[in-house]
C-alpha cells in the first residue's frame, strides 16, 4: 500500500535516514522498531508529509507523496489518520469537538450526525460519556483512546501510530495494544506503528521492521524476527545493554 524507496534525510549534517526501503502492506499491522533517536518519528513524519526528504520517494497507490502539490496532498491526507505520541488533542476543545473536528472540516454532516458518529467512535475505543470532558481532565490512556477515535473518525485507509504506549503503565499499554488489534480487525485498516515497546510489538505486529543507523536492517514476521541471527536485532529484542548497539 505504501512503498518507501531509498528515503534519505539529513539534519544539521547528521544523516538520520540513510536510504530507507520499506513496504507497508495493505490491511496489515506493520511495526517499525528501533532505538530512541534512530529516526522512527522522522520516518513517520515523512509518510504523513510533515517533513520533506532530501531524496527518495514514498509511493502510495502509484502516487509519489513526496512530489505532490499541496492541494492534492491534502486530499490524500483525508485517507490517513494519525495518533501522535502525546495524542495532540486540541486543548481548547472538548473531547467531542476533538473527535468530530475532521468531520466538521471535511464533510457536510450536520452537528447531530457528527455527534452520533463521534459517540460511535468513542464507544469503539471503549470510552462512554466523555464527550463533554476537556483533554486536561483525561488520563494518559484516555487521551490515547480519544486520539485514536479522532484518527479513525473519517474511516481512513491507513492509520499511523507514533509511540502509542509511551508514558503508559504496563496494564494500560496492554489495553492500548488490544485496542489497536480490535480496531484494525474491525475496520480492516492498514496500520503502521512506530515503537520501542517490544511487548506491544509482539502482541500486534503482522510484520516488524527494524530501523538502525538510518536503514531498515531487518524485517519479517514476529517469529522470523525472533529467530533472526542479526546481532543488532537480537540485542534490541532481548533488551540487552551488551552487544553491537552502542549505548551513549
Amino acid at each position: 500500500m505504501i512503498k518507501i524507496i531509498d528515503l534519505k534525510k539529513t539534519f544539521n549534517h547528521k544523516q538520520v535516514l540513510d536510504g530507507v526501503n520499506l513496504e507497508i502492506e495493505k490491511g496489515k499491522i506493520t511495526v517499525i522498531i528501533g532505538r530512541s533517536g534512530e529516526g522512527k518519528s522522522v520516518l513517520i513524519k515523512h509518510i504523513i508529509g510533515l517533513l520533506k526528504p532530501d531524496s527518495g520517494r514514498i509511493m502510495f497507490e502509484d502516487m509519489d507523496l513526496t512530489a505532490m502539490r499541496e492541494r492534492d496532498f491534502n486530499e490524500i491526507l483525508k485517507r490517513f489518520g494519525m495518533l501522535f505520541q502525546g495524542a495532540a488533542l486540541f486543548d481548547s476543545m472538548t473531547v467531542a469537538e476533538n473527535v468530530g473536528f475532521p468531520l466538521k472540516e471535511h464533510t457536510d454532516l450536520q452537528s447531530a450526525d457528527i455527534l452520533k458518529t463521534v459517540s460511535e467512535k468513542l464507544n469503539r475505543v471503549g470510552l462512554h460519556g466523555v464527550e463533554e470532558m476537556m483533554p486536561s481532565d483525561l488520563s494518559g490512556g484516555m487521551k490515547k483512546r480519544v486520539g485514536l477515535a479522532r484518527a479513525i473518525v473519517m474511516s481512513p485507509e491507513i492509520v499511523l501510530f507514533d509511540e502509542p504506549t509511551t508514558g503508559l503503565d504496563p496494564v494500560m499499554s496492554d489495553s492500548v495494544g488490544t485496542l489497536i488489534l480490535e480496531t484494525q480487525k474491525a475496520l480492516q485498516t492498514t496500520y503502521a506503528v512506530i515503537t520501542h515497546d517490544i511487548t506491544l510489538t509482539y502482541k500486534i505486529a503482522d510484520k516488524i521492521a527494524m530501523l538502525h543507523e538510518g536503514r531498515i536492517i531487518a524485517e519479517g514476521t514476529v517469529d522470523e524476527m525472533k529467530a533472526s541471527d542479526n546481532p543488532v536485532v537480537r540485542q534490541f529484542l532481548e533488551g540487552r545493554a551488551e552487544g553491537p548497539i552502542k549505548v551513549y
Binding site: I48, G49, L77, F80, A88, F90, D91
Partner: protein, 257 residues
C-alpha cells in the same frame, strides 16, 4: 578574537535575515489563505473577541490615565505662556496622532500578543499544529489568518476607544480639577483637531495590529524547545512587536507629516 566577533556578527545578521524572510513568507501565506474559501468566520470572531473585547479594560485604563497626565503636564507647561486654553487640543492631538495608537499597540501586544505566541507555541510543541496538518487542515489558514484579520480589525477600534477615553480623562483633569473653562476647552479642541489627525492615528493602528499579530503568530508557529521555547517565543514576540511598533510609528509619522 576579531574572527570570533565577525563570526558572531555573521550569525546575527544571518538570523535577522532568516527571521525577516520567514515573517514575510508567513505574511504572504496569511494573505493568500485569508481569501481562500471557506473563510473561517467563527475563528475570526473568536479572535476579535480575544484581541478586542478582552483588551477593553486595559486600553480604557491606559487611555484614561494618559489623557489625565497629559492634561496635568500640559497645563503646567502652557500656563507659563498663558496658553492654558490649549490644554484640550494638546491632549486630543497627542492622543489621536501618537499616544492612542502607540499605547494601544504596546498594551495589546503585552496582553494579546504574548498570549497568542504562548498558545501557538504550546500547540507547536505538543504537536497540535502537526495534528491539524495531518487532518488536511492548513494550520496557517486555521490559526494565523484569523488572528491577523482580527488584529487588523480590532486595533483601530481599540484606538478609537483609547483616544476617546484619553480626551475624557484630559477634560476631567483640565476642566474639573484645574478649572479651565469648559466652553474654551471643548471649543479649542474642536477648532484644532481635524478628521485627518484621527485618520492618521487609525492608519497607524492598522499597521500595529498587523505587526503585533503577525509577529506573535510567527514566534508561536515556529517555536522549538519545549516549555522553555514557549517562554522564549512569548518574550521575543513582545520585544520585537514593541520595537517594530515604535520604529514604524516614527516612519509613518514622518511620511504622513
Amino acid at each position: 578574537m576579531l574572527k570570533k566577533n565577525l563570526e558572531q556578527l555573521g550569525r546575527n545578521v544571518g538570523g535577522f535575515v532568516t527571521t525577516a524572510g520567514r515573517i514575510t513568507m508567513l505574511l504572504g501565506w496569511t494573505c493568500v489563505y485569508a481569501f481562500v474559501p471557506p473563510v473561517k468566520f467563527k475563528n475570526i470572531f473568536k479572535q476579535m473577541e480575544f484581541v478586542g473585547v478582552q483588551s477593553l479594560f486595559v486600553v480604557i485604563l491606559t487611555g484614561m490615565f494618559t489623557g489625565m497626565v497629559l492634561a496635568l503636564q500640559g497645563y503646567n507647561a502652557l500656563k507659563r505662556f498663558g496658553a492654558e486654553s490649549l490644554v484640550g487640543p494638546t491632549v486630543a492631538l497627542s492622543m489621536a496622532r501618537e499616544l492612542g495608537p502607540v499605547l494601544t499597540g504596546l498594551m495589546v501586544t503585552g496582553r494579546a500578543g504574548s498570549a497568542m505566541a504562548t498558545e501557538l507555541g504550546t500547540m507547536r510543541v505538543t504537536e497540535q499544529i502537526d495534528a491539524l496538518f495531518t487532518m488536511g487542515v492548513n494550520p496557517v489558514k486555521y490559526l494565523v489568518s484569523p488572528r491577523v484579520i482580527a488584529g487588523i480589525c480590532m486595533f483601530p477600534l481599540l484606538t478609537v476607544i483609547t483616544d476617546f477615553v484619553g480626551v475624557v480623562g484630559g477634560y476631567l483633569v483640565g476642566v474639573k480639577l484645574l478649572g479651565i473653562n469648559q466652553g474654551v476647552y471643548i471649543g479649542r479642541t474642536i477648532d484644532f483637531v481635524q478628521i485627518n489627525d484621527i485618520f492618521t492615528g487609525l492608519t497607524k493602528s492598522l499597521m500595529f495590529g498587523l505587526i503585533t499579530t503577525l509577529v506573535a503568530c510567527y514566534y508561536g508557529f515556529y517555536t522549538t524547545g519545549g516549555a522553555e521555547g514557549v517562554g522564549r517565543a512569548a518574550t521575543s514576540s513582545v520585544v520585537l512587536s514593541s520595537v517594530l511598533i515604535l520604529v514604524s510609528d516614527y516612519l509613518m509619522s514622518s511620511m504622513m507629516a
